[in-house]
Every structure is written in structure tokens, then in C-alpha cells.
């Protein structure tokens, strides 16, 4: 990173980056697509209770496994519940889980990574712990955690957050290590600037662009993993509809009514696809190396 970029104030840099992102929307229509789809999903999920749809939990044994009709756009499930309503409501859990996991994992990871990168004495210990944590495949770890803690949305969120932290720590630490050797940071150290001040003024702003990109990927992954957890019976409790447990409950009836998996599956895939394209777009516009190549 060149020196003169560093001399700009934090605010000016943010503005600059915001402009870069805005420009990349223009150049990168798929990124715009991602944002629009995401917003649409969020609106549908969170306004679902006010759309005049049947209650997502309201059973009606007489109307089991109905095909799509004007009354029930996606048909009904094995308890006669309205699938369209359930899928829309299910988006709430998925989106909340995705966003919260992304926020928590990046925040914890950022804090640990900054410390690890700047305080040499704890670096080795932290990194060994992170290596060990990373060598446990994340879904297995999450499954084990939820199995022990019990099914609830907060537990799912925590269980999905913990395995993601090491990757964030590694990312932040690598940025810190790279920056620590830069001349302007060395100069700040030589001038007697305090460590927290260096971290906040010089290091932190540079970790943000890659972290945002990483956060989008974590978010996408968490949405999928929530569904995996529900699918193997270690996810959100059945009384709250989520895309994962709609599919998990419906899998026995897949051949009678494929929509029971395909509709929530399509919503989930579209959402994750949108988050991923948004993340890819962000990466291309925030990573100067990629920019030059394009």
C-alpha cells in the first residue's frame, strides 16, 4: 500500500473506499443483482407476518401435501401448513443467523487477530490454539456443540461462530504482520506512539476491507450450515420455521411433493448466491491487486 494513501485521514479514506464501491456497482452488475436479491429476501422475510398469509405453524390435516394453488402458492406440507408462508418466515432465521454469525466471528476474530499480530508473547500460543481449532472440520464442531447445548437459535449462532473465528484471526494477523513492517508504522513506533493508538489509527483501517469481504463469505456459509445443522437434527428448534428445518422435516415426503425441499432450497440457494456475488464484487473493488488485473 502506498504511502500517500496512508496520509489521508480515516474519514477521507472511508469516503474514497465508498466511492470505489459505488463505482464498482456500475461496472459490476452482478454485484448489484446480489444486493437487490438480498434486500428483497430481507423484506419478504421480515414483512411476512404482515402480508396476510396463513400462520406458518397453523396445521390443517385435511389439506396435507397439496400442490401449489392460488390459495397456497407453494402448496402445503405434511401437516397442511402453508409452505409459502413457512418459506417466507423461514428466511428470518436464516438471515439473522447469517448476519449475526458474520458479525460475531469477524469481531472476535479481529480482536484476537490484532492482539496476536502485535503482541509477540501471546502470538505463538494463540496461533497454536487457532490451528487446532481449524483442524476440526467446522460442521462437525458445530454439530457437536448444538448436540450438547441444545437446540435454540442463539446456540446455533454460537456453534457456527466458533469454528469461523480462526480463519478471521489468521486473516487479520497476516494484515497486521504485513503492515507492522511498513515504514510509516515503524516510524510511528519510533516516535513513541502507544500500541493501542497504532493499532487503531494505522492497522485497524487496513484490516477492514478484507474483513468485510470475509464477512460476506462467512455469512453465506452460515446460512448454508444452519440448514445442514437442522437437516441432521442439531439445528434450530422445530417450532420456529427455518429453511433448514422445513427441508429436514419434509424430506420423508420429498417424492410425494418435491416442492417441500425445492422451494426452501431455491430460496436458500438464491440468498447464498446473492451474498456470494456481492462478496465477490466487493473483493474485486476493494482489493487493489484484483482491480489492476481487471
Amino acid at each position: 500500500m502506498s504511502l500517500h494513501v496512508q496520509e489521508l485521514s480515516f474519514g477521507a479514506r472511508l469516503k474514497h473506499r465508498a466511492r470505489v464501491v459505488a463505482e464498482s456497482f456500475k461496472r459490476n452488475p452482478t454485484m448489484l443483482f446480489g444486493v437487490v436479491v438480498l434486500l428483497l429476501m430481507a423484506v419478504l422475510a421480515f414483512l411476512a407476518p404482515w402480508l396476510g398469509l396463513p400462520e406458518p405453524m397453523q396445521q390443517s390435516p385435511r389439506d396435507r401435501l397439496q400442490p401449489p394453488s392460488p390459495d397456497a402458492l407453494f402448496g402445503t406440507d405434511m401437516y397442511g401448513r402453508d409452505l409459502f408462508s413457512r418459506v417466507l418466515h423461514g428466511g428470518q432465521v436464516s438471515l439473522v443467523v447469517g448476519l449475526t454469525v458474520a458479525t460475531l466471528a469477524t469481531s472476535f476474530g479481529l480482536a484476537i487477530g490484532l492482539v496476536s499480530g502485535f503482541v509477540r508473547s501471546v502470538d505463538a500460543v494463540i496461533m497454536r490454539l487457532m490451528d487446532a481449532l481449524m483442524s476440526i472440520p467446522s460442521i462437525l464442531l458445530a454439530i457437536a456443540l448444538v448436540a450438547l447445548w441444545g437446540s435454540s437459535v442463539p446456540n446455533v449462532i454460537l456453534a457456527l461462530t466458533i469454528p469461523e473465528i480462526p480463519r478471521v484471526v489468521r486473516l487479520v494477523r497476516s494484515v497486521v504482520l504485513m503492515l507492522r513492517d511498513q515504514l510509516y508504522v515503524q516510524a510511528a513506533i519510533a516516535c513513541g506512539t502507544s500500541t493501542p493508538r497504532i493499532l487503531i489509527r494505522h492497522i485497524l483501517p487496513n484490516t477492514i476491507p478484507p474483513l468485510i469481504v470475509q464477512a460476506t463469505y462467512i455469512c453465506a456459509q452460515a446460512v448454508i450450515f444452519e440448514a445442514y445443522l437442522s437437516f441432521v437434527g442439531a439445528g434450530t428448534p422445530p417450532e420456529i420455521p427455518s429453511w433448514g428445518n422445513i427441508m429436514a422435516e419434509g424430506r420423508m415426503f420429498f417424492f410425494q411433493s418435491v416442492g417441500i425441499i425445492l422451494y426452501p432450497g431455491a430460496f436458500l440457494a438464491l440468498t447464498v448466491f446473492a451474498i456470494n456475488t456481492f462478496g465477490d464484487g466487493l473483493r474485486d473493488s476493494l482489493d487493489p491487486r484484483m482491480q489492476r488485473r481487471v
Binding site: 487446532a132 467446522s138 454439530i143 448436540a147 437434527g233
Partner: protein
């Protein structure tokens, strides 16, 4: 070289040890009485006491850990609470399908994803590139089990080419094995392929800008030879790193895929153990998967020598 391998093996011991401590502590870090958690919501007081005794939960923590570790080092991972069978035996019974499924997936995914990534990089910016990359993002976005059910719907239900579910050991019948393994392997491979194809494309794009690629063209070599011999060999180190790290995705996917296709492997074992909070089994499966994962990545690190003469051990 051998000295290096031994050094690296020794270096994995602390990692494995931390994993072991971590897996052991999971139960004890959970809120509430471990025995009650394992016994489940409908257990009687007697059952809880029995479990507490069976798992030695009355002893101080360090004694519990000590005896657990000593047993583990002797290959004893305890007994299943549900069936009473030794965990090692349960895992031994279930390991073959999972191993075969994972290997088949890796072979299929790698042989398809690397050429796709190479072609995408070669034809960068064209519709071929865009198609490969869109497919890759789709692979990342569609949950494994949705892919699985779609393949069952198409390949088994509609076309009738493959059995819907189940598993046949390769030692019993090779055609039976192949017909049973194809759909699960494709299902499990989707994410993995997406990952490898993307990495291949990104690395190849970098390599194709190198001067030595121009030199190769200037020699009059055909494009195929330049791509494969000159460029791909240079790209193989990052690609194989991804192949190794991506196995974590495979392990996660195996749990789900085996449920979809009713394959009696470690994934099914995990799901069953989760449903019954059979903690010793969960512990054992996590340990086996994690150790395999660490060793596999070590193996891949060592394989860099094959691709890059500048790396010496």
C-alpha cells in the same frame, strides 16, 4: 527429507493434543450437568446416575482427562452409551463407505475441476469463463442435500439409472458399488469442485501472466502444452493446498450426504449419535476426522516437492 517428515509429524503432536483436550472439554464446558445432557430430557434420576458412573464423571476433571487420554493412546475411545459397543469398533464398521465415498468424490472433483479452471483462465472474460465461474458460485450456494435430492429426482426417479439410496461395498460387487456411489459422489463433490475450479482459475490467471509462459509460446509450443506443462505445473502448489483444505468441506458434506442417500458410514453414525446425544461416539468421530484431516494436509505439504524444485526439505 526423512528428517523433515519426522519433524513435521512431531510438530502435529501439539495440534492433535490441543484438539484432544478441546474435544474432551466440550462436554464439560457445556452448561449443565454432563450426565443429564447425555441422558436426555426424559431420563430418570437412576439413568443419570448410571451414566455418571459409566463415564467416570464423579472423578475430578484431571483424573477423567488422564484416564481418557491413556485409553485414547491405547486406541480405546470408550463405549457408546446407546449400544454399549466400543466406539473404535463402531467407527471401524462404518469407515469403509465414508472412505470410499470421499475418495471417489475427490477423484471425480479434481479431474473435472482442474481442467475447468484451466479452461476458464485460458478463455478469461469469454462466455466459457463466465459459465464456469457462475457454476462455481452455484456450487457454493446450493446446499448439499438439495443437490442430492435433485440428483435422486433426475438420476433415479426420472431416468432410473441409479438406485435411490443405499450402499454396496466395492468388495461385494463393483458394478453395484459404482451405481450406488455415483450420485452421492457428485452431490458431495459439487462444493469441492467449485472451490478447486475457482482456485485453479485464479492461480492460472496469475501464472499465465508470467514471462516464462510467453517464452513457452515463443518456442512454438502448442497452447495445450503451454497450459498444462508450463503453467499448470507452476499453479499446482496453491491448487493442492486448496485440495487439502477443502477436505474439511467434504467431511462436513459427508455427514449430510450419507443421510440423504442412507449410506451406513461415519456421517450416519454421527447423525445417529447426535440424535441420541451419544457423546463418546461424537467425540470419537470428531477425533478421527480431525486427525485424518491434519495428516492429509501434512501429506499435501510434503507433495509440494513434486511440483516445485525450489522447495527442499
Amino acid at each position: 527429507m526423512y528428517a523433515y517428515i519426522i519433524r513435521r509429524l512431531i510438530a502435529t503432536i501439539p495440534i492433535m493434543a490441543i484438539v484432544a483436550v478441546f474435544v474432551f472439554m466440550l462436554l464439560h464446558l457445556s452448561p449443565g450437568d454432563p450426565a443429564a445432557i447425555i441422558a436426555g430430557d426424559f431420563a430418570t434420576e437412576d439413568q443419570i446416575i448410571k451414566i455418571r458412573e459409566q463415564l467416570g464423571l464423579n472423578d475430578p476433571l484431571y483424573i477423567q482427562f488422564g484416564s481418557w487420554l491413556v485409553n485414547l493412546l491405547q486406541g480405546d475411545m470408550g463405549q457408546s452409551i446407546y449400544s454399549g459397543l466400543p466406539v473404535t469398533k463402531l467407527i471401524g464398521q462404518r469407515i469403509e463407505p465414508t472412505l470410499m465415498l470421499t475418495l471417489c468424490t475427490m477423484v471425480i472433483a479434481i479431474t473435472m475441476a482442474i481442467p475447468l479452471g484451466v479452461i476458464a483462465a485460458w478463455k478469461v472474460g469469454t462466455w466459457i469463463d463466465r459459465m464456469v465461474m457462475t457454476l462455481a458460485v452455484f456450487g457454493f450456494s446450493v446446499p448439499v442435500f438439495v443437490i442430492g435430492y435433485l440428483l435422486i429426482l433426475g438420476g433415479s426417479r426420472t431416468l432410473g439409472w441409479f438406485p435411490v439410496q443405499g450402499y454396496t461395498s466395492i468388495f461385494e460387487s463393483v458394478p453395484g458399488f459404482l451405481s450406488h456411489i455415483t450420485l452421492p459422489a457428485l452431490t458431495l463433490g459439487a462444493v469441492y469442485m467449485a472451490l478447486i475450479a475457482r482456485m485453479t482459475r485464479a492461480t492460472m490467471l496469475e501464472v499465465l501472466n508470467e514471462d516464462y509462459v510467453r517464452t513457452a509460446y515463443a518456442k512454438g509450443l502448442a497452447t495445450r502444452k503451454v497450459l498444462v506443462k508450463h503453467a499448470l505445473k507452476n499453479a499446482m502448489v496453491p491448487i493442492s493446498t486448496t485440495i487439502g483444505l477443502g477436505v474439511a468441506l467434504l467431511i462436513g458434506g459427508v455427514v449430510v450426504t450419507e443421510s440423504v442417500f442412507a449410506i451406513p458410514g461415519l456421517g450416519r453414525l454421527t447423525v445417529d449419535a447426535v440424535l441420541r446425544t451419544d457423546y463418546p461416539v461424537i467425540q470419537g468421530v470428531i477425533l478421527v476426522f480431525s486427525f485424518t484431516y491434519v495428516l492429509l494436509n501434512l501429506l499435501i505439504d510434503l507433495s509440494y516437492v513434486l511440483f516445485d524444485p525450489r522447495i527442499r526439505y
